[in-house]
C-alpha cells in the first residue's frame, strides 16, 4: 500500500528515518482532499442534471428555496475546522520533530555559496558537492551561507531548510539505507540556481569509518584550497577543531575566552557546548551551533549571566568556514575537564571598558 501510494504520487524513495511517517500524513491529507473535491464535483453534476432548465421560455415563478439554516452553516464550518486543525496537529508534531535536533549525532558544517555546497567534518575533511554520511546515525547539519539565501533540500529525506548568511540554521536526518540521493538548492539564488546541486552518499557505518573517518582526505571531493588560505594554514590538513584553535588565536578570541575552564573576561569554552547557559535576561538557552554563531555575530543579544556585555561583533569579520571551525573547537571541548574549584566569575576581574572598533572596525 505504501509503495503503491508513493509511486502513484511520484514521491522519491523514503530514505530517512522520518520520511515514511511524513508520507503517511501526506497520503491521508491528499486522499481526504481529493475525496472532498470529488464530492463537490459529484454534487455539482447531480444538481445540474436534476435541476437542468427544461423550458427555454421564462419559467414561472417558483417557490423560493429555503436558505441554509444557521445550524447547517455552523455545522459545516466547525466540521471543516476540526478536520483542518486535525491535519495541523499531526503536521505540527512532525514539524517539531524535524526542528528539534536530537543530541549526540554526527555534526557536519555546511557552507553554501553561489552556486556550490561544501561540507566540513570534524576531522578536518572538506568535500564539495558530495556529503558522506553513515546510515543509521543522526546527522546534524549546521548550515550557513556566504552570500545570499539558499535552501538545502534532499527530496529523498523529506528535509529542507533555508541557509541564511550571517546565521546558522540546523537540519537533521538519519539515512536508513546506503545509496546516493540528490541535493537541490530550493531557494532561488541567482544565475546558476538550477545547477546548484549535490548528492548525499549514505554508506554503511563500517564503510564510512573505513573509507572516510580514517583517511584525512575526502574520498571524492578535493580539499578546498581556499579553506586553508583563509585560515592562514600551511596547507597540511588538520582537524577542524585544531583549525578552530588557530582561528581563535588569530582573531583574538583567546584574549577573553579560555579553553580549560579558567574564568576570564568571557565564559570559558570548556564544557560549554550542549550545556545550558544562564542568560542575563530570560530563560536559559542550550549552547548549540546556532547559539554560538549568534553569539559571535550578535554578542549582546543573549549575554551569559555574570559576564559584562563587552564582546564586539564579529559579523563581517569571521568567514563562515572560520565560524564552523570555532564551533567545532568549542564542541570538542564539551567534555573537557574543568577545575572544580574555579568560581564562575572571579571577583577581581579587571574592570574593562567597551572596546573601540576592532581591527578595521566594522565592515564599511
Amino acid at each position: 500500500m505504501n509503495e503503491l501510494m508513493r509511486r502513484l504520487l511520484f514521491l522519491p524513495p523514503q530514505a530517512s528515518g522520518f520520511a515514511r511517517d511524513f508520507d503517511y500524513l501526506h497520503y491521508a491529507v491528499i486522499t481526504v482532499s481529493m475525496l472532498g473535491v470529488l464530492a463537490v464535483a459529484l454534487a455539482l453534476l447531480w444538481f445540474s442534471f436534476k435541476y437542468r432548465r427544461r423550458t427555454q421560455t421564462t419559467d414561472p415563478a417558483r417557490p423560493r428555496p429555503e436558505p441554509l439554516t444557521h445550524a447547517q452553516e455552523f455545522g459545516t464550518a466547525f466540521g471543516l475546522l476540526a478536520l483542518f486543525v486535525g491535519f495541523w496537529c499531526f503536521g505540527v508534531r512532525q514539524y517539531a520533530v524535524m526542528q528539534r535536533v536530537p543530541p549526540g549525532g554526527l555534526l557536519v558544517y555546511v557552507t553554501a555559496k553561489q552556486w556550490m555546497w561544501s561540507f566540513d567534518y570534524a576531522n578536518g575533511n572538506r568535500t564539495n558537492e558530495t556529503l558522506y554520511v553513515p546510515t543509521g546515525r543522526t546527522v546534524e547539519l549546521a548550515m550557513t551561507s556566504r552570500d545570499v539565501i539558499h535552501s538545502f533540500y534532499v527530496p529523498a529525506f523529506r528535509i529542507k531548510k533555508d541557509v541564511i548568511p550571517g546565521r546558522t540554521t540546523s537540519v537533521w536526518f538519519s539515512a536508513v539505507r546506503p545509496g546516493v540521493y540528490p541535493i537541490f538548492c530550493a531557494e532561488y539564488c541567482g544565475l546558476d540556481h538550477s545547477v546548484m546541486r549535490g548528492r548525499v552518499v549514505a554508506l554503511t557505518p563500517n564503510e564510512f569509518a573505513e573509507r572516510f573517518e580514517r583517511t584525512p582526505r575526502a574520498p571524492g571531493g578535493a580539499t578546498h584550497p581556499l579553506a586553508e588560505a583563509e585560515l592562514g594554514g600551511n596547507g597540511e590538513l588538520t582537524s577542524l577543531a585544531a583549525r578552530g584553535e588557530r582561528v581563535a588565536a588569530a582573531r583574538g578570541c583567546l584574549r577573553c575566552h579560555t579553553l580549560d575552564g579558567t574564568p576570564h573576561l568571557g565564559p570559558s569554552w570548556a564544557r560549554l557546548y550542549g550545556h545550558e547557559v544562564p542568560l542575563e535576561s530570560g530563560a536559559p538557552v542550550v549552547a548549540d551551533a546556532a547559539y554560538l554563531t549568534e553569539s559571535m555575530m550578535e554578542p549582546l543579544a543573549k549575554v551569559h549571566r555574570g559576564f559584562s556585555p563587552i564582546m564586539p561583533t564579529y559579523r563581517g569579520i569571521l568567514q563562515p568556514a572560520e565560524t564552523a571551525a570555532l564551533v567545532e573547537l568549542i564542541r570538542s571541548l564539551a567534555d573537557a575537564p574543568i577545575q572544580p574549584t574555579a568560581p564562575l566569575v572571579s571577583a577581581d576581574a579587571p574592570a574593562v571598558t567597551l572596546p573601540t572598533a576592532l581591527d578595521g572596525g566594522i565592515a564599511p
Binding site: L44, R62, V148
Partner: protein, 546 residues
C-alpha cells in the same frame, strides 16, 4: 448596517425600457480626448480592460516561452539569465499588473455604481487618476526590460535582490506606483459602498459581488502600503546601501520576508475575492436561484479579508522561523481555509432546486469550482507544516497557486467577461465558439498544472532552468497543456473580438438576472439610470415575477 425591511412592497421601480434609437450610451459621443479625460466609471473600466488585457497577453507570452524552455532538461531556446529574467517578469506582470487590478478595476469599476444604483463612484477624478497611476507604474516596471531585465523573482527576496546585477530598482519603484493605484481604487470603492447606495438598498440587499469588492478594498488599503515600504527599502538598499536587511551590515534578511508576506499573502485574497464575487453572481443567474446562504457568502468575504492578515508566516516554515511562530501561523492558516470551503459548499448548494442552464459563464463556473476546490485543498495540504517542508519552493507550490490564481481568478475573469459582455457593449458573443474556447482553456489548464503537482512531489524545485532528465516527460506534458491553454485564450480573444465588432445586438437583460446593474440599459447611458432608482427587493429574488 440595517436589516432588510421585509414590510416594503416587493416591487421595483424600473426605468422605462429605452427605445433602440434612445440617446447615446456611454460608449458613443466625444473624441479620443473625451475618453482620455473621462470621469465616467464605465469608460475608465473599458480603458482598464484594454490595459489589463495587454498585461495578460504579455504575461501569457512570457509563460509560454518559459514552458518551451523547459521542454528539455538543458538549454532549449534561451540562456539561464534570460530564463531568470523571464520568470521574474512573468510573475511581476501577472501578479501586479493583471491579477491584482484586473477584476476590481474592470468589473468593479463598471458595475459597482450600477449595482448601487449610483451615477458614479464616490471620487470620479481619483478613479481616473488611479488609471493613469496604473499606466505609470506599468511603464516604470517595464523600463526594467529596456535596462536588461530584472532577475530577483516576484518575491524580491533579499539579499539576492539587493545584490543582483540587474534592474531590480526599476521594478521595485514600478510596483510601488502600481500599489498606489491599488490603494486609490480601494479607498474609492469603500467610500462608494458606504455613501452611494441608492434609496432602499440596505447592506443585506447588496449584490454579493459588492461584498467581495468591499473585502478586497479593505485589504488593498491596509496591506499595500506595507509592501510599498518594503520595496522602497529594497530600492534604497540598492541605491544607498541602508543595510536594514543586509546580513553583512547586521541586518536580518528574514525581516524582509515578514514584510513581504504581510502584504503578499493577503494579496492572494485581493486576487481571489473579486473572483469569488463574480462566481456568486454567475451561479445565481444561471440557476435562477438565490444563493443557498447570502450571509455565509457575504460574511466569509469579510472573514477572509481580516483573517487573511493572520497567516503570512506560513510562507516561512522552512526559512528558519521559530517553531512557536510556525505552530501559530499553521493553525491560523487552517482558519482562513474554512471560509473558502464554506463558500464552495454554498455555491454548490445554490444549484439545488434551481433551473440550471449551461451558457459559457456557467461553464466557467464549473471549471472554477473544480479548480478552486482542488487548489484550495492542496492549500490546506501545504499549510500542514511538516508536509510543507517537502513541498516548499517546489513545483507543487507552483501548481497550487496557479490553480488558485489562474484556475480561480482567470476562469472567474473569463466568466465575468462573457456574463457582462452584453452589459458592457450591448452585443452578444457566439455561444458555440465561446463554449469551444472555454472547454479548450479548461483542458489545457488541467494538463498544464496537474503534471506540475507530480513534479513537485518528485522534488523538482521551482525556478529551475535546468533539471534532472527523469523529470522530462512530466515537463513535456505540462508544456503541451500550456500550448492548449494558449490556444484556448487566443480563441477567446478572437471570439470576443468578433463579438465586439459584429456580434448581434442584445436586449437589456439577456440572462434574466434580478441584479440591479441590469435595470439600466445595455450598454448603459452615461448617467447610468434615467431616474433615481428605489430598491424594494433583493438582487436574487427569482421567486418573484420580474
Amino acid at each position: 448596517m440595517t436589516a432588510p425591511s421585509l414590510t416594503l412592497p416587493r416591487t421595483v421601480e424600473e426605468p422605462p425600457l429605452l427605445a433602440p434609437a434612445a440617446p447615446a450610451d456611454y460608449l458613443h459621443g466625444g473624441g479620443v480626448r473625451s475618453w482620455l479625460l473621462t470621469r465616467d466609471h464605465k469608460r475608465i473600466a473599458v480603458m482598464f480592460l484594454g490595459a489589463t488585457s495587454l498585461s495578460l497577453l504579455l504575461g501569457g507570452i512570457l509563460a509560454l516561452l518559459l514552458r518551451v524552455e523547459l521542454l528539455t532538461p538543458g538549454p532549449t531556446i534561451m540562456s539561464a539569465g534570460a530564463y531568470n529574467r523571464s520568470f521574474t517578469m512573468h510573475g511581476i506582470v501577472m501578479v501586479f499588473m493583471f491579477m491584482i487590478p484586473a477584476i476590481p478595476t474592470v468589473f468593479g469599476n463598471f458595475l459597482l455604481p450600477l449595482m448601487l444604483g449610483a451615477r458614479d463612484v464616490a471620487f470620479p477624478r481619483l478613479n481616473l487618476a488611479s488609471f493613469y497611476v496604473y499606466l505609470l507604474g506599468s511603464a516604470i516596471t517595464l523600463t526594467s526590460l529596456v535596462a536588461g531585465g530584472a532577475d530577483m523573482g516576484w518575491t524580491f527576496y533579499v539579499p539576492y535582490s539587493t545584490t543582483s546585477p540587474s534592474a531590480v530598482a526599476n521594478v521595485a519603484f514600478g510596483v510601488f506606483v502600481l500599489g498606489l493605484s491599488s490603494v486609490m481604487t480601494g479607498i474609492n470603492f469603500i467610500v462608494t459602498v458606504h455613501t452611494m447606495r441608492t434609496a432602499g438598498l440596505s447592506w443585506h440587499r447588496l449584490p454579493l459581488f459588492v461584498w467581495s469588492l468591499y473585502g478586497t478594498s479593505i485589504i488593498q488599503v491596509l496591506a499595500t502600503p506595507v509592501l510599498g515600504m518594503s520595496l522602497l527599502l529594497v530600492a534604497a538598499d540598492r541605491l544607498f546601501g541602508i543595510g536594514i536587511f543586509d546580513p553583512a551590515l547586521g541586518g536580518d534578511p528574514l525581516l524582509f520576508q515578514h514584510l513581504f508576506w504581510f502584504y503578499s499573502h493577503p494579496a492572494v485574497y485581493i486576487m481571489i475575492l473579486p473572483a469569488m464575487g463574480v462566481i456568486s453572481e454567475v451561479v445565481c443567474v444561471y440557476s435562477r436561484n438565490p444563493p443557498a446562504s447570502y450571509r455565509a457568502i457575504a460574511y466569509s468575504s469579510l472573514g477572509i479579508a481580516l483573517v487573511g492578515f493572520l497567516t503570512w508566516g506560513h510562507h516561512l516554515f522552512v526559512a528558519g522561523m521559530s517553531l512557536f511562530d510556525g505552530a501559530v501561523f499553521g493553525v491560523l492558516s487552517m482558519f482562513v481555509a474554512v471560509f473558502s470551503a464554506i463558500k464552495v459548499f454554498t455555491w454548490t448548494a445554490t444549484l439545488r432546486r434551481g433551473s440550471v442552464s449551461f451558457e459559457t459563464p456557467m461553464l466557467y463556473f464549473f471549471w472554477f469550482m473544480f479548480l478552486f476546490a482542488f487548489g484550495g485543498m492542496t492549500g490546506v495540504a501545504v499549510a500542514t507544516s511538516s508536509l510543507d517542508i517537502h513541498w516548499h519552493d517546489t513545483y507543487f507550490v507552483v501548481a497550487h497557486f496557479h490553480f488558485i490564481m489562474v484556475g480561480g481568478t482567470l476562469t472567474a475573469y473569463l466568466a465575468a467577461l462573457h456574463y457582462w459582455f452584453p452589459k458592457f457593449f450591448g452585443r452578444r458573443y457566439n455561444e458555440r465558439w465561446a463554449t469551444i474556447a472555454s472547454v479548450t482553456v479548461f483542458v489545457g489548464f488541467v494538463l498544464t498544472f496537474v503534471p506540475q503537482f507530480l513534479l513537485g512531489n518528485a522534488g523538482m524545485p521551482r525556478r529551475y532552468y535546468a533539471y534532472p532528465p527523469e523529470f522530462q516527460w512530466l515537463n513535456v506534458l505540462s508544456t503541451g497543456g500550456a500550448s492548449i491553454l494558449a490556444a484556448g485564450m487566443l480563441l477567446t480573444l478572437v471570439e470576443l473580438g468578433y463579438a465586439l465588432a459584429a456580434g448581434p445586438r442584445t436586449e437589456r437583460n439577456p440572462w434574466g438576472s434580478r441584479s440591479y446593474e441590469w435595470l439600466s440599459a445595455s450598454p448603459p447611458p452615461t448617467e447610468n439610470f434615467e431616474n433615481e432608482l428605489v430598491i424594494a427587493r433583493g438582487p436574487y429574488d427569482y421567486h418573484l415575477p420580474e
